[in-house]
Subunit: 315 residues, 2 copies
C-alpha cells in the first residue's frame, strides 16, 4: 500500500514510521510534485491546506485522508463524501501547549515579568513591585472543550475558581460551574481572567461587544487564543484605549499577520503574539502517534479511528 | 488582655481583628515606641527582627510571640526558653506564591516570553520562535518540603517528571521519586530544571560546585529561590560565563541588594529578580488567618497551635 505525505517531516520521523510499518510504502513530497503518486496512493497525510476537488477526482486509489491539523476550513469535504473517503484529523492535540501558554500568560501578568525584566535592564533592585497570585482568582473559560478543559484543569491545580461556558451548559469536570453562552454576562463581573478558545462559527463571530467588557472588572484580563473574529477589532481597540479592562493578551487577529503600524503593537495594555500558543516541537511527533494508531486500525479493519470526521458536518 | 503588634498592618486588617476579638485590646506600634505597652502586653505579634534579650526581660506579662515570618534568625530564643514563652510563626505561608513564581519562571523559559516581548517591540510577526512545553520535562527539586512540594504538585499537573531531594530520602507524595543529598549527582544529568528552595545551613552552604553543573544538560535551567549561598558566586559566574547550562534564574544572592554593575545583571543567560518569589498581597491576610487560629487556641487553652516552635531547635 502506498501512503503519500504531502509535507516533509524530519528524517527521524520518516525513518521511524517506515521501520514500524515496513510492509507499506511511504512517500514524502509536496502535492504539486507528487505526479503519479497522487493517483496511486491509498492514504494521504496532509496539513489539509493543499487539496481541492480536482485533486480528489484524480486520486483514484484514495480511501483515507489523515489531516495533521485541527483546522479543516480548506478541506474538499463534498468530494470526499461523494467518494466515501475516510477523513481523520488531530483534533485535541493542541490542548497541552495551548493550556500551558495560557497559564504562562496569566502568570506573566500576575508576577509582572515584563516589568521585572525592564527593572533588570536598569539594574534596579526593586522589591516594591506588586506581585500577585493566581490562587483564589476567577477564570472564565469561553468554550470549555478539550483546550479550555485542559486549561481549567491546570487553573484548578493553581487553586483558581473556574467557570466554563459552552453551548449546552453541560457541567465540565474541571470547572466549578458551567453555563451557556446566553448567560455569559452573569459571569463577567467576577472574572479576573476571561479566556476565549472559541472557534470561528456563526454563533461566536463578534460575540463579545463593548457591553460585555463594561461588565468586567477594571483589573480584568482578556486572553484570546481562539479566533480573532470573536470581537470586532474596532470594539477591542475602543475597550483598550478607554482602559475598560487592565490588559488584553492576543494570540489571534482578524488580519494575520498583524500589519506593521497596527495600534495593537504599541499599546501598553495589549500584548501581541503571532499565533504561537499551539506550536511546539511536540506537534508532529504527537500527530504521528495519532496517525500510527489510525493506520493500525485501518490495516486491521478495526475502525476504532481517533478523530473520525463526519463529512456532512465537517467536524 | 493586651496584644501588641510591633508593625502597622492596614486599617482593614486592624479593624477586622478587633471586630472578631472585641474582648481583647489590640495595639499597633513599633517596638521602640511601645513604651509601657511592651511590659503590659501578653502577646507580641512581630516580624521577628525587632526583639532581643533586653526586650524579653522587660516584657513582664509576655507569654506568646507570634512571628509573622518564616525566618527567625534574629529571634532571642534563649531568653524565650528561660521564660517558657510560646513562639509560633507562619512557616509554610510562602509555598503558594513561591511555587507559582517557579512555574511562572519555567513557563517564561519554555515559552520564550522575553524574546516574544522584544519581537513585539519591533512589530515583528515571527512564528518561527521555538516554543516548547513543560509536559514531559524533568524537574529536580533540591529541598522538597512545603515549598518544593507545592511546586512539585503543580509540576505534576503540568505532566512533568519530578525528582525530589531531601535529607532522609523519604518519598514525597508529589515526586515521582525522592532521594538524599548524597545522591544528587545521579539525578542531575536528566534534569531539565534544577530548582533550589534550600535554606542556608551548614549542610547546604556551597553545596553545588562546578562539577554538579558539568553533569547537567547544556539545555538545563537552574532556578534558585532558596538562599544565595547554595553556590559560591565565583562558581556560578564561571558556570554561566562558560555556558555550561542554558539559563540561571536567580531570586536570591550572596549580597542583597545585588550591587549595581554586578555581572549577573548584564548576562544574557542570567535573569535577576530581587527576592520577590515569596511576596504577595496575600501575605499579611494569610498570616492573620494563622494568628487568629492560634489566638482562638490560646484563649480557649486548646493548645492546637499552628507552627509551634521548639525553642531548643529554633524551628
Amino acid at each position: 500500500m502506498k501512503i503519500l505525505f504531502t509535507f516533509i517531516p524530519s528524517e527521524k520521523l520518516q525513518n521511524e514510521i517506515q521501520a514500524e510499518f515496513p510492509e507499506h510504502e511511504f512517500h514524502f513530497c509536496k502535492m504539486k510534485s507528487a505526479g503519479s503518486l497522487a493517483e496511486e496512493a491509498e492514504i494521504y497525510v496532509t496539513y489539509g491546506e493543499d487539496l481541492d476537488n480536482s485533486y480528489i477526482e484524480k486520486a483514484k486509489n484514495l480511501k483515507w485522508i489523515m489531516v495533521m491539523s485541527a483546522g479543516m476550513d480548506r478541506m474538499p469535504f463534498e468530494e470526499c463524501a461523494k467518494r466515501d473517503i475516510l477523513v481523520t484529523n488531530v483534533r485535541g492535540i493542541h490542548k497541552i501547549p495551548m493550556a500551558e501558554f495560557t497559564l504562562g500568560t496569566m502568570l506573566q501578568h500576575v508576577k509582572q515579568y515584563p516589568l521585572l525584566q525592564r527593572k533588570e535592564q536598569q539594574e534596579d533592585w526593586d522589591r516594591k513591585v506588586k506581585v500577585e497570585e493566581l490562587a483564589g482568582k476567577n477564570l472564565l473559560v469561553l468554550g470549555i472543550g478539550a483546550i479550555g478543559g485542559e486549561t481549567a484543569r491546570l487553573a484548578k491545580a493553581f487553586r483558581m475558581t473556574v467557570t466554563g461556558i459552552n453551548r449546552s451548559g453541560k457541567q465540565h469536570e474541571y470547572a466549578d460551574q458551567t453555563d451557556t453562552f446566553a448567560n455569559i454576562s452573569a459571569w463577567l463581573p467576577q472574572a479576573d481572567f476571561v479566556l476565549s478558545v472559541l472557534p470561528s462559527t456563526y454563533e461566536t463571530r463578534y460575540l463579545l461587544e463593548v457591553g460585555h467588557f463594561k461588565l468586567m472588572k477594571d483589573s480584568a484580563v482578556f486572553i484570546n487564543i481562539g479566533r480573532g473574529d470573536l470581537v470586532k477589532e474596532e470594539v477591542l481597540l475602543k475597550v483598550m484605549e478607554e482602559r475598560m479592562i487592565a490588559h488584553a493578551y492576543l494570540d489571534v487577529f482578524k488580519t494575520e499577520p498583524l500589519p506593521k503600524g497596527h495600534p495593537f503593537w504599541k499599546m501598553d495594555n495589549v500584548t501581541v503574539t503571532p499565533p504561537l500558543s499551539s506550536i511546539t516541537r511536540q506537534y508532529l511527533p504527537r500527530s504521528f502517534e495519532i496517525f500510527k494508531h489510525n493506520l493500525r486500525a485501518y490495516v486491521n479493519k478495526e475502525e476504532n479511528f481517533i478523530n473520525g470526521i463526519d463529512l456532512s458536518r465537517g467536524y
